[in-house]
Symmetry: C3
Subunit: 256 residues, 3 copies
């Protein structure tokens, strides 16, 4: 079954999911969220798949929610549903019986940082760049924050969000947002497979469930995240910021 | 309105608060706490102030509570009130709609480390030095700890407190207690303003409130901190340690 | 009183506990757990002991639970009791009125990593190596995890457990699992004593109790850990993995 927003490649024991929306900067729309959930359903049932690689293309990993779609949404329900579906995607990645590896070659912003944070391992090429620029638009990376704090600690997550500044791969490595920088990420992945291929799926499942009990991310925290992003994205001022950008390429901080 | 313990300077979009108690090593007394709360009241109501810079002078950022004042306090109520006012200061810094930057050039000890930990960003000159030496006196940096753990993680905060050893700026950077070391901190701040000046105050406020919900510092934890420091500082043995030092410059670990 | 699994050496203000089971790779059996609790009882009552050094010998610090003993256990009760005794050991180390230093020269795996994580300070020689290989056996370092997350943060603890890969001393330092790498750990310890010897035992006790209130490790989390390791170690598949290894040196991932 082909997906309109993803490409799927199989190699022995390695499945690669490529986000295929380069015309929209690999941003996240409702269809991509649905396709990601479906591809996870499919791959989690495939015993040959040991490592699940998530990647972008054309110098873009993922740039977060699709502003064009947000600008066109006419009901608050659509925003809340997308937030809930995205939050659920991050949770299931963090609880999956597959080992999920973010393979980053290029731009990672907003919700894309969430996909990295919820992965088990992240490898980035030297040309990669990371940023959370939501605050410039009056938004927050609300669903990303719990998983980002879990991965890099409170203060780096906080400053990345408040500063809106881009992070280099070296900074991302320093904060442990990525595990390794490499010009040959496939080689890194092949090396990992040698060890990780020995793990039984049952213990991967047990391990992830266990670590969730040993940390502070809760269902309630995720509900708080969904409520907060929905509140912000339906705020008239924020909506205006997004529409001005989508329709006229005007930034909120540009002189009027 | 002038403050007896602070100086206030205005530049376009940048307000600088300078702790002005160099005769007491920029230590924190009841008056400084009151003045810091008042200056925050004033600056938070000032729409032109985008960055709030907190600094010391004369090679001292801040050296924590004023032992001379503590030695002279005759009622436990004064100690409890100061602890509560200091704890409230750290909380409001962490929730302020202004971006607060600690600009450090020199010595930072005890409660001064708390001011750094509760700031949004910290830049330090190479001659800066950090330490929590409370334990040598039979005390704990009780109000500092929640914000220090939040900023640098459990173990570094724990070891800094237990070891009482000084940290170099390089170590402080390694632990992310400071974000940057620079011989020209004003240049670092000017650079930050280019990006941070674009943020609407409303989203800064929302962001800080949101991150508080995503972390473990609670009102109850702050009450535990206030109770613990009050208990310790009113302990006869600790009080004797402080009085011996204030009156005779004798350290608790000196041979008697 | 001599211990069958430990050696005890006294120097002024420094007590050294050496794990003495090199014939079993310094692994942890029921007797070692009992002896460690007894030696802690003894040293905590000794006012001359300021620093308590925990070390291994012969290039092995500690390699976690003794699989030979586990393979021979015939009742689930023995496993549960050992898990509870080990968990209680880590907790009391983290709450002890003595400063506990892990002095590492060589191999540290599984439960041995827990001893390091629960220590106040860890120094390692360059030939040291760290790993959590439990998952390869269908197990988890369940009792280690709460103290490892506390020490090195969620993601490094998570990845160390999931990857099962060895960590070099440099990586361990980068993650703050060890505080220092040195070819002369005794010199590091002597230097620490100069400062730490000034601390009153009462404040060490207060400090550790206070930090426990400022972090997420709870009694309930420890009970979850004990239940999880007991569940796994009594699972027939895991028990078979262990018995195949003990009896025939067959690894779970070897071709049959």
């Amino acid at each position: 079954m082909p997906f309109s927003t993803l490409r799927l490649q199989y190699a022995p024991r390695i499945c690669t999911v490529t986000i295929n929306r380069l015309d929209r900067q690999n941003s996240i729309n409702a269809q991509l969220l649905e396709d990601l959930h479906q591809v996870l359903d499919q791959l989690e049932a495939d015993p040959d798949c040991r490592l699940l690689i998530l990647e972008g293309q054309g110098g873009v990993f993922c740039t977060g929610m699709d502003f064009t779609e947000v600008a066109g949404d006419t009901s608050n329900g659509a925003d809340a549903e997308k937030a809930e579906t995205f939050m659920r995607l991050l949770r299931r990645m963090s609880l999956s019986r597959k080992i999920i590896i973010a393979k980053i070659d290029g731009k990672v912003t907003a919700g894309g940082v969430g996909l990295v944070a919820a992965s088990d391992f992240a490898v980035a090429t030297p040309r990669s760049q990371f940023s959370l620029s939501e605050a410039l638009w009056g938004l927050l990376p609300a669903c990303v924050v719990p998983y980002l704090i879990r991965r890099i600690g409170f203060q780096p997550a906080y400053w990345m969000t408040l500063s809106t500044l881009p992070f280099s791969p070296e900074e991302a490595l320093n904060y442990h947002l990525v595990n390794e920088i490499s010009t040959d990420p496939d080689e890194v992945i092949r090396r990992l497979l040698l060890r990780l291929g020995r793990l039984d799926e049952a213990i991967i499942f047990d391990l992830k469930a266990y670590f969730r009990k040993m940390w502070i991310v809760t269902e309630q925290m995720e509900q708080t995240a969904i409520a907060e992003i929905t509140r912000l994205v339906t705020d008239p001022r924020v909506r205006n910021n997004i529409q001005e950008f989508v329709n006229y390429q005007r930034f909120p901080w540009s002189p009027r």
